[in-house]
Amino acid sequence: MKIVAVTACPTGIAHTYMAADVLQKEAHKRNVSIKVETQGAMGIENALTPREIVSADIRMIVSDIEIEEKERFKGCTTLHYSIEEVLTNVQEIMNKCLSQI
């Protein structure tokens, strides 16, 4: 199973990276493969390719703003969450995601 996610926040110096860390930790705890693209003040890091997005089992956008290059997700079922939802309750978010498969 493979999860791909994009995290982004308005300033790009805090929540983008915190949300990415929280998702990665939770996925590793569950032995689930995950790749998280961060869109912060440093620009796009760990970028997801269209191929990775299409072939993923779960796609997540965790953001309080419109993300860059959103068109990559066009036609794919994508789950949207706010940064706060992920930071406060990542277990429940992950349960919801995994139950969609």
Binding site: P10, I13, A14, Y17, M18, D21, V22, M42, E84
Partner: protein
């Protein structure tokens, strides 16, 4: 229960076995519980278990803290403080203020950031509401541009609250109204509603970075925020009883700790 804390920088490449035996012996004179935290490594062990402490993998210039909990912890703190003063660089102790800490922050590599910055600290700040707190943060950041910075902080909060789990708020902006990275650290006298679904805020770590930012600023800021998202570290700042403890730990995190 009384808890006292001693925070220090390890100057040897590890805890030597003889040193651990001496610390164990000293701890044995008291009834309190002694826990050693290696803050740099994110690990902990009881002080009376030398093998446990050796397994922390401590290295030179790691920042460590000994927390002493028990009825005789104040006396134990005095004794261990004197020992650690001789065998490490003492950052802070509950026992008394460390006036040499400021020199450590400017000269010791454990705390030195690769850029100049503004640092403001206040203990037990009291605000009627979140907006008043943001106004004070803006005023501290730049008295000439306080209204503009206040608006920027409020605009950021309007998108989503910057409170994070554990009673901590991290208001942060990139602003053309500051020339240097500005860090404003405040513990609060009473819990403050930060317009979040989470518990009220007891600690504020505000980050205001200049518009003409460098990569080093972002690295330091993200190190701090990523460290703060870990529930296991909140007690280091929420329970700290001295300014130099909080300042030292936060500077060390920004200078060195990659999650």
């Amino acid at each position: 229960m009384i808890t006292t804390r001693i925070t220090f920088v390890l100057e040897d490449n590890r805890f030597a076995a003889w040193q651990l035996n001496e610390l164990k012996q000293l701890a044995g004179y008291f009834h309190s519980l002694f826990v050693l935290y290696n803050i740099t490594r994110g690990k902990q062990a009881n002080l009376n278990e030398p093998l446990g402490i050796l397994s922390l993998g401590s290295c030179r210039h790691d920042v460590c803290q000994i927390a002493i909990e028990g009825l005789d912890s104040e006396l134990a703190c005095m004794v261990l403080t004197e020992y650690l003063r001789d065998h490490s660089s003492l950052l802070s102790t509950s026992h008394k203020q460390n006036f040499q800490a400021k020199q450590l922050f400017t000269h010791h590599s454990s705390f030195k950031l690769p850029f100049s910055y503004q640092w403001h600290y206040a203990r037990k700040a009291l605000y009627p509401d979140k907006n008043a707190a943001l106004a004070t943060l803006a005023q501290l950041a730049s008295s000439q541009n306080e209204h503009a910075i206040h608006q920027q902080l409020a605009d950021r909060e309007a998108i989503s609250s910057t409170a994070i789990p554990g009673g901590i708020a991290i208001p942060h902006i990139i602003s053309e109204f500051v020339q240097q990275p500005t860090f404003i650290i405040q513990s609060l006298e009473s819990p403050l509603d930060w317009n979040s679904s989470q518990c009220d805020v007891l600690f504020i770590a505000a980050l205001i970075l200049p518009k003409a930012f460098k990569k080093e600023y972002i690295i330091a800021a993200t190190r701090l925020t990523r460290w703060l998202i870990n529930n296991n570290v909140h007690h280091f700042i929420l329970d700290a009883d001295r300014e130099e403890t909080i300042t030292g730990i936060l500077l060390h995190v920004m200078a060195h700790i990659d999650p």
